[in-house]
Symmetry: C2
Subunit: 253 residues, 2 copies
């Protein structure tokens, strides 16, 4: 099994180390990841400046690894188009520190790296631990290793990826696995206005999370209730169900 690993916390992040260490047990691992944290870059790609690629040897000599001065999507694109000799069997993005749930997924660099792989027709998984503090990556890494072994014999759904969130709980406290849809996770009071020492205003993105905890089939609910959440994701943003309604408007100019 050839596995390409990327992330959006950057190649030196703890989460990617734990993931690579575990995946080395089941296959040949390649790493192409951003040279620094690139959170909330979404599906941004670098068009207006050149990308630099540097070989690194931080995961052991058996793991070919590159850091790139680009976004998670750039890394996966570069790996698949220019750096790897043949396509991998699987692309895994993570392990992200912090949740990638609900409405927020649209901003996620972690998920976008996996989306990029699925645009190339390669099975892909995005994985996050749903906490920013006291995160231990060992069990989440073990979960992903087991999932890789599990899906090896399955037919991976076309044009799809799996977005996985794992509660930051000890293994024995995790209640099970739920297949979920993306829930509602928005923000209120998003900006803090401040004044700099020269009297000029500036704004910090901040905001309190507002989650819909009543939607019991959602990823948001699953994480809040101690379950591992697996959400199937696709990249076709068409809202098919309102096409007929729009046609009935008979718009003309």
């Amino acid at each position: 099994m050839k596995i390409l690993v990327s992330n959006d916390d950057g190649i030196y992040a703890e989460g990617i180390f734990a993931l690579v260490k575990e995946l080395k047990n089941i296959g040949k691992v390649f790493v192409v990841a951003p040279d620094r944290e690139r959170s909330a870059t979404a599906h941004a790609i670098t068009m207006h400046k050149p990308l630099r690629v540097d070989k690194v040897e931080i995961f052991g000599s058996e793991v070919t690894s590159f850091k790139v001065n680009g976004t998670p999507s750039d890394c996966v694109k570069l790996a698949l188009d220019a750096l790897l000799r043949e396509p991998p069997d699987l692309v895994i993005s993570g392990i992200n520190k912090g949740p990638n749930l609900g409405t927020d997924v649209i901003y996620s660099g972690t998920v976008s790296a996996a989306i990029e792989a699925s645009i190339y027709g390669i099975p892909a998984i995005a994985v996050s631990v749903a906490s920013y503090e006291d995160v231990i990556f060992d069990y989440p890494a073990e979960v992903i290793r087991k999932l890789c072994e599990y899906i090896k014999d399955k037919e991976f759904p076309k044009d799809s990826l799996l977005n996985i969130n794992i509660p930051a709980l000890p293994k024995e406290k995790i209640k099970g696995v739920m297949i979920t849809h993306l829930g509602t996770r928005k923000y209120k009071n998003c900006f803090h206005k401040r004044c700099d020492p020269r009297g000029k205003d500036y704004y910090w993105l901040a905001g309190e999370v507002v989650e819909d905890l009543m939607d019991e089939d959602s990823d948001v609910w699953a994480i809040h209730n101690g379950y591992i959440s697996i959400t199937p994701i696709h990249f076709d943003l068409t809202k098919y169900e309102i096409m007929d309604m729009l046609k009935s408007w008979r718009i003309d100019f």
Copy 2:
């Protein structure tokens, strides 16, 4: 009618001028747009540095306008959360120079500004002229003005936005309006590898477009055949149709 306008080509781009000029005829226009071109930023948001907001007076004294050192999504978020006193009736992103079609929409800053508005529950439209050369924005701006008047009396579909692409053709050569789904528009040979004067390699994102021109209900087909394309878009990336299949896998760790 209160209309917020943003874009990803930057506040000084020709397309936003043409749009604002036309929209001033039908309502009160506000502009909050990036201070420079931010193409292919997708839904990136700025978390790790403060945002600066500067008032500008380039659209006439009746149009309150701000430029922001952030992405299109930052601009819409800031406008709705911090800069406008009350929410607008409509958010329009554009007019973008160059198409935003098919698979590519996932990379689009233009579309992401409209998605951000629809996350806030506000009707939104993204608009692009499907060419990079010899673009005249007058007719596209007229199309959008008419569309705004048209949808004023309609119930705008919830959690949705409209992605509009207009062929770069004279008005009389445009064949009509099609309601479409996002087609397939991918790239091959994505990177050019070069060597800098110091002997170090770098990569430029490039690539030849590969479009599926046989899919006759798609936005890609519509533009190639001289139609204005209107695609309904949403921001729920869940692939609902494979949830049952995944449940049948009975994954456990």
